[in-house]
Structures are given as C-alpha cells and as structure tokens.
C-alpha cells in the first residue's frame, strides 16, 4: 500500500503530463494549484488546539491543506491500523499510540501535552462539592466515563487513590458526555478533563488535589515524517504550546 | 311488524329519495340499474350509512329519525343480512360463521353451535360445517350466508344482490332456497337486485329505483303489463313461463314451448321471452318459427308509439309491437290471434 501511495502521489516536482495521465486515471492528484493534503488524526479533546494549529500552519505553508480528523483515540488507532492515510497521529493516551507504533513498526512518540482531571459541578457549585471524597455522598447523582475509555480509567484510579467509594449513576461512553450530563442537570457531579470544562459557563470545576491527581499524557507521532514532521514541530513549538495552554492543557 | 322507510340522502350529485313500506312477511324487491342508489338504500336501512332526513321504523321501534337524531346502531337492529359476495369471515369455519350471530347476542358457544348446526341441516348443508369459507363454491357460500342471516331469528332480512355473483345453475338453487326461507314467515324482506329474474321470482312487490327515485312500484305482473319507464319496459317486461323442462321442450300445463340451447339437467325451470321477440298474426303463419300458438287478447296498453298486448289462454304472455303493426293485424281486445317466437329467443334458467 505505501508503495502504491508513493507512486500515485503527485508531488510539486512531478511533471504536468504525468499529472494529467494520473488525473484521467481518476487518481487523487494534488498538482500545482491544488494544495497538498496532510491528514492529521487527533483525539477529540484536541479539537480547539488543532483548529488553531491548522490555521497557523496553512498560513505559513500555503501549498499545504491540513485536514484534521477528530475522533476517540481508539477509533483513530483502528483506522490507522486499517490503512487510513494519516500523516500525524495525536493520541489522548499512550496505549493507543503504542498499538499504532507496534502495528506500523514506528519509533517512539513525543508527549506534547498533559491533561489533568477535574470534578465537574453545576455553576456556582450549589451542592458544595469540595473534593473527590464528596463524590461518595449518597445524595449525589454522579456521572463518570466508562473504565473502557481512558478518561474513565483515569477517574477510577484517581478515586481509588482518594479512597472515595463512588456509586456512579452512569458510565458514559465518552468524557464529553459526562460534562453534558452535569450541564443538563441530569447529574450533580462528574469527573472529566480540565480541557473539557475550560471556557464553559454552564458548568464549573473543582480541582483534584495533587496527591490524587492522575495526569493523562498526550503523545504525538509523525507517521509520514516528510509531510507530518513539520506539523508535529509546530505543535511542540512556542505557538503550539501557547495554543495548548489556552485550551487548558499542561505542557511538559 | 312492518318496515317503514323514508330516506333522503345526498348521493354524490344526486339525491336518494325513497319512501317504502314493507309489510309483515312481504318480500319487496328494489330493482334498478347500476348507480341508481340501491346499495346506498340498503346501507341506510341497515344503519351503516347515515340519512340526511327521514325516518326508518320497524313496527314501533325507531331505527333512525333524522329529526330527533335518534339512531339505533346496526348491531342492535337484529337484522339478517346477505351481501353479494364474500359474506363469510375467512378465518372461521362454516359452523362458527353461522354461530357468529347468536354468539354476538350473548348465546353460549355450545348453544350457538347447536343452533348453527340445526340451521345448516335445515338447508341441507350440514356436511359443510367444518369447511373453511375459501374452499366453498359461490353457491355453497351464499347458502351458508343465508343460513347465518336466518339463524338468529332476525327482525328483517336485507339481501344485497344475493345471486348476482353466482353462475346460472347456482342462481337457481339460491333463489329456491331464498323463496323457501322467506315464505310463511312474518318478517319483512328487502331484496336489492338488478336481475329481472330475481325480481320476478322473489318479489311479492317490485319497486323500481332509477337515479335515486322510485319510478314505479307494483307486482311483477303490473309492472310488466304497464311499464312506466323505458328501463322497466326493457328489463321487467320479460315474460316468465314456469314449467318442467325436458330436453328442449318446456311444458307448462297444456302449453309446450321449444327453448333455445341450454345446459340445464331438466326438471323445474323458467323460460324467459322478451315481449319484442314475439310476433302476432291474424292467421296461422307459415315458415320457420318452432313455436306457434293461437291465443286471445285480454288487454291492450298503448304508450306513445309502442303497444303492449296481453295474451291469455293457453298461457299469459305480453307482446310488444308498434301501433302500426297492431293496426295492420286488425284484432282488438277479446279477439283471437296467432303468436309465434323462435326457439333461439326463448332462454331458460333454473327454477
């Protein structure tokens, strides 16, 4: 597959006649005038950051069209392993990144961002929830992410460390649904990433003490070093770090 | 008790305006062309369709009164209804179809089935009890439908084209059954049909319905002798001669008639002859007609340019001819004439 892709991919240097031939064959062809496409597969929580990086990168490299594909990390990993044309993979956890690296035989990835857990509560915190211990209160309806998804596993670990015996009302399939539950008032509290609540007025957050905090590492890897490498570079540069900070991520 | 019907209702762009009274034990046939409003009349009498104005009463029971809004729903009229076809409930066997009425009126299952059995036996179709409706012939199905209509001792019988979906041989059987079932009972019967033979054989009186209006009412004989509209003349003016059929000869008393081709087995039969098919002559005609007989003119009825001549002795028969034709023969009431008709103009149907 990669060989075929290399042959068919029409680079800037390619001659116009060859391009014409490939076009008539119905092949995707980015000749002069049509910007080169770089597919960035990024965890859903990176949406805002990636939109900004895309804009900055395209401004600096007008011949390139960055296309961001947002989904859950495990979905993205499955797509990449099934042969999807990804130049960059930015995962919300190392496990899915390792799956991709093992599958494609790639080198180590770089941790470019961290995300910490917060307790999501209603605006103004009317039920006076001060920390993980309060989540075991029987008068609260608590929503967590399912342990099968990373945010859920981290939340379970954090609660275990805090010694809080929580009986959740629901285990959501993704972490944003936890925030939605609290925003709609269906749940009194939940555990989500700081990046999920930053800038929102329909929910408030309570910090988790450092002793119990479980930090999620976000690794990134250029699957195609030639086209993806510069995108990764921008993500880890000063502008990238600023964008990450704005979105509530920590940077190493 | 008698059934009194005064119905006014809109029928598309036409109106249905019918006033009829059916006496105890009387069979009244309503005959008319398609679209005349026969089925609508029957549905309104049954209470399935509302009336705009008028009344339907059975004895002193008020079934419908548009003025007061009084309405007795169909299920409370205790009617016996026989529709044209597909009368039976497909998922029940014959016995349970016949038992359906009594069951609906609160009779126990056992008793309802017992009555149903008795009714089927009465009509000699007891062997069909376990059959499914779809395995019955048209004639069998219609017999079952009649048994079902009668089993619950209905107040009145409503029959909608009871023989029109049947073949010739089956028509005869169903007609005979209906005649037997409605003779010597006190209940009024309303029969709707467009079949002249049905009308003449089943009707004590015949009401002619054309475009929503009753145009003529009377006995078959009265209508045949003096039809008031072209439709009546055309349809009801036919002569019926009952007799016994043997090969191509129908014998009625001392009168013999050679009939046209048929596939009946013989026995009781009805010959029908159109009045226009018969010729009158002053002297015995020569030549081909197989049926030639001498007869006496009992009455002459002149309408515009057509004349209807009633003959009696040896057989009652109506002949229609032009006024000029009658004048040419020059015989008046009470006079003797010769009548002739081709065998091919005489058709027979089962009696």
């Amino acid at each position: 597959m990669p060989v075929v892709v290399d042959v068919l991919r029409c680079r800037l240097a390619a001659t116009i006649p060859l391009c014409a031939v490939l076009l008539t064959m119905g092949s995707a062809c980015s000749g002069p005038g049509a910007p080169e496409r770089v597919n960035v597969f990024a965890a859903a929580s990176l949406g805002a950051v990636m939109a900004e990086v895309e804009q900055l990168y395209e401004a600096a490299n007008p011949e390139v069209d960055v296309v961001v594909n947002l989904a859950g990390s495990s979905t993205l990993a499955a797509q990449i392993l099934a042969g999807a044309d990804a130049a960059v993979f930015a995962s919300a956890n190392t496990a899915q990144m390792d799956l991709v690296r093992d599958g494609l035989g790639l080198g180590p990835a770089t941790v470019f961002a961290t995300n910490e857990l917060v307790i999501v509560v209603a605006p103004g915190n009317p039920l006076e929830i001060t920390g993980p211990d309060d989540l075991s209160r029987s008068d609260l309806v608590v929503a967590l992410a399912a342990p099968e998804v990373p945010a859920g596993a981290y939340a379970m670990e954090m609660l275990r460390r805090a010694g809080a015996d929580v009986a959740p009302a629901t285990l959501e399939l993704d972490v944003r649904a936890v925030v939605t539950r609290v925003a709609l008032g269906e749940s009194d509290a939940g555990v989500a990433y700081r990046t999920d609540v930053i800038g929102r007025s329909d929910v408030a957050s309570v910090s988790v003490p450092d002793d119990y905090q479980v930090v999620a590492d976000y690794p990134v890897l250029a699957i195609d070093p030639e086209t993806g490498g510069p995108v990764v570079e921008m993500l880890t540069s000063a502008v990238g770090r600023a964008a990450l900070n704005d979105a509530g991520f920590g940077v190493p | 008790m008698s059934l009194a019907i005064t119905i006014r209702r809109a029928l598309g762009e036409r109106r249905l305006e019918v006033d009829l009274e059916i006496a105890d034990g009387e069979r009244l046939v309503v005959i008319g062309p398609n679209g005349a409003g026969k089925s609508s009349l029957l549905r309104s009498v049954a209470g399935l369709d509302p009336i705009d104005s008028g009344r339907v009463t059975f004895g002193d029971e008020i079934w419908d009164d548009a003025a007061t809004g009084e309405h007795r729903p169909v299920e409370s009229r205790r009617l016996g209804v026989v529709p044209q076809r597909d009368a039976l409930l497909a998922h029940l066997n014959v016995l349970d179809n016949v038992a359906y009425g009594p069951r609906s009126q609160g009779v126990s299952r056992r008793e309802a089935r017992r009555r149903a059995h008795r009714e089927l036996e009465r009509f000699h179709i007891g062997h069909l009890a376990d059959a499914r409706p779809r395995s019955l012939s048209g004639g069998e199905a219609q017999r079952v439908a009649i048994a079902r209509a009668l089993v619950a001792e209905p107040t009145a019988l409503l029959l909608d084209e009871p023989t029109s979906a049947l073949d010739l041989a089956a028509k005869a059987g169903v007609r005979a059954l209906l005649t037997a079932a409605t003779t010597a009972t006190a209940r009024p019967s309303l029969i709707v049909t467009h079949d002249a033979v049905d009308a003449l054989t089943l009707g004590d009186r015949i009401a002619v319905l054309e475009e929503g209006q009753i145009t003529q009412i009377g006995t078959g004989r009265e209508l045949a002798a003096a039809p008031r509209t072209g439709y009546v003349a055309e349809l009801l003016g036919i002569n019926l001669i009952r007799g016994s059929l043997n090969g191509s000869t129908l014998t009625s008393g001392n009168f013999e008639l050679t009939v046209g081709a048929h596939d009946l087995p013989g026995g009781e039969a009805i010959a029908t002859v159109r009045p226009r098919s018969i010729s009158l002559h002053r002297a015995r005609p020569e030549g081909s007609p197989r049926n030639v007989w001498q007869s006496r003119i009992s009455s002459i009825d002149r309408t515009a340019d057509r004349v209807r001549v009633r003959l009696v002795d040896p057989v009652e028969i109506v002949v229609e001819l032009t006024a000029a034709g009658l004048d040419a023969i020059g015989v008046g009431e009470g006079g003797e004439v010769w009548a002739s008709v081709k065998a091919s103009e005489v058709s027979v149907t089962g009696g």
Binding site: G72, S74, A78, A95, V141, A143, A146, E148, V149, P168, A169, T170, L171, E172, L173, A177, R181, L184, G185, E186 | A46, L48, P73, V74, E75, S76, R77, R78, L79, V81, P83, D86, A87, L89, A90, H91, Y100, G101, S104, Q105, R132, R134, R148, A152, L158
Partner: protein, 268 residues
C-alpha cells in the same frame, strides 16, 4: 414445483444482487472474523449475561407496551375521522427518522431531572427516570413503536371493511368486532409490526445511551456492551455482535413458521 414465468427485466438481477451483497457480506464477514474459540467464555462471562438479560427483558417489556398503546393508536388513526390525523401520524412516527441521539436528548428535555415533566415526577413521587431501566424502555419505545403503528395503520387502512360491517349487522358490539374480525384480518401485519418493533428495540443504542445512560445490570444493554468492548477488546465486540445476530435470526426463523400460516390462512 411450478413457477410462474418471470415478468421482470432480467437486468434487474444485477442491482438486486448488489443489494443482497450489501446486506449479506458484512454479516458473513462478521461471522468469519469472530473469535469462535472464545464463544463459551464470552457467553458465560457475567458482563455478557447481564447485558443479554437486560436487553431481552427491556425489549420484551417495550414490545408489550408498544402493543398495549400502539395498537389502539393505529386503530384510532386508521378508523376515526379525527381532525389532523395525518399530522398526528407524522408526529407519532417522526422518531423513525430522528438520529437516535437526538431522540435521547428530546426525551431528556421532557423527563430529565430539570425538565418540566421530570421535575414534577421528582417533586411529587420522588421518581427520577434517567439512569433507570424504565428509561431504557422509554427510549426503546420512542424509537421502536412507530414500526408497529405505521405497519398496522397502513394494513388497517387497506383492509376490506365488509367483514366488519357484516359482523356488526350480525349483532357484534365494537369490542367483539375488533377482536373477532378486525384483529384477525390484519394478523400478519400485526405480527410483522411486532417483530420489527422488538428488533428495533433490542438493537437500540443511541437514544438509550443518551437518555438512560450506561450502568452494568441497570441500563447497559447488549449494544452498549458491544460498543464499549470495541474500545479495548475488539474480539469480544465481534463475538457479542455475532451473538446479537444469532438471537435475532433465531427469533425471526421461529416466527417465520407462524408467519406463513398467518398469511395463507392455515394452508401449508
């Protein structure tokens, strides 16, 4: 066995075959890829048992309630001159075209803790609907019952009214007409609608996860269990999917035997 000569253009075989491939290939691939060696361990595992049990119980309750209220609805829509009945029918079947997640949000907007009706239930009876088995059933009803209503309504609309009128003329009151004539005359549509409703209910995912949430043994149905398994044990997800295919096939085949007599009126 004699067959009537075909009256359709032969070329239609091609698109028809494509359609068959579209349905058959994914199912066949699923069965081929499933790790059959793990069947017994997956079947005997507690999570699977809980999810299968919950799915069967909730989908059967849903089907029962759908019959209890959906059949009357279809009758009212098909047999009365209710003003605006077309609009009512449209409203009652709209959920068929809604994305299931939107259906879930819509249910939350009525029965959620902060929603008008949900708040009343909470204040008066201390009942909260979301995150309960009842919420699973309500979500299934919302998306699945239209299949029964629409199938039955159209059958009732096209069935010959003659037998019903005949039964009334014989003295049958409305309930008796309904049970002895009307329902038997639409028996196959009733059966088809019921099966469709049940199948849609047992496969329901989007509205359930949005409205009822996900908790093992309470609201985690087989589709949710399958979706979660896909996150980190795809093999288990495949096997669960095959189990769902198997359960549905078994029910459809079992009903097919009853279906054929229903259509042919008891003849083989």
């Amino acid at each position: 066995m004699s067959r009537r000569p075909s009256t359709i253009p032969r070329l239609l075989i091609v698109p028809a075959g494509l359609a068959v491939a579209l349905f058959a290939l994914p199912i066949l691939a699923l069965i081929a890829r499933a790790p059959w060696g793990e069947l017994t361990s997956i079947l005997s595992d507690d999570d699977t048992g809980r999810a299968v049990g919950l799915s069967l119980v909730t989908s059967l309750i849903t089907t029962g309630i759908a019959l209890a209220i959906g059949v009357p609805l279809a009758l009212v829509l098909a047999r009365t001159r209710l003003p605006g009945r077309r609009i009512i029918l449209a409203v009652c079947t709209l959920s068929m075209v809604l994305p299931p997640v939107v259906a879930g949000v819509a249910l939350l907007s009525v029965l959620g803790r902060r929603a008008p009706l949900g708040r009343l239930l909470d204040d008066w009876f201390g009942v909260t609907v979301p995150f309960t088995g009842a919420a699973v059933v309500i979500a299934q009803l919302f998306v699945a019952m239209p299949f029964l209503v629409i199938t039955l309504e159209s059958a009732l609309g096209s069935v010959d009214r003659g037998p019903e009128e005949m039964a009334r003329a014989l003295g049958a009151r409305p309930w008796r007409v309904l049970t002895t004539v009307t329902v038997p005359s639409v028996r196959s549509a009733l059966l088809a609608g019921t099966v469709l409703t049940w199948a849609r209910a047992i496969g329901e995912f989007g509205a359930t996860i949005t409205f009822a949430g996900n908790l093992p043994g309470v609201t985690r149905t087989l589709p949710t269990e399958t979706y979660l398994a896909l996150q980190n044990s795809p093999d288990r997800a495949l096997m669960l999917a095959v189990i769902q295919v198997g359960v549905c096939l078994a029910v459809l085949i079992a009903l097919r035997r009853r279906w054929v007599p229903a259509i042919t009126g008891g003849r083989p």
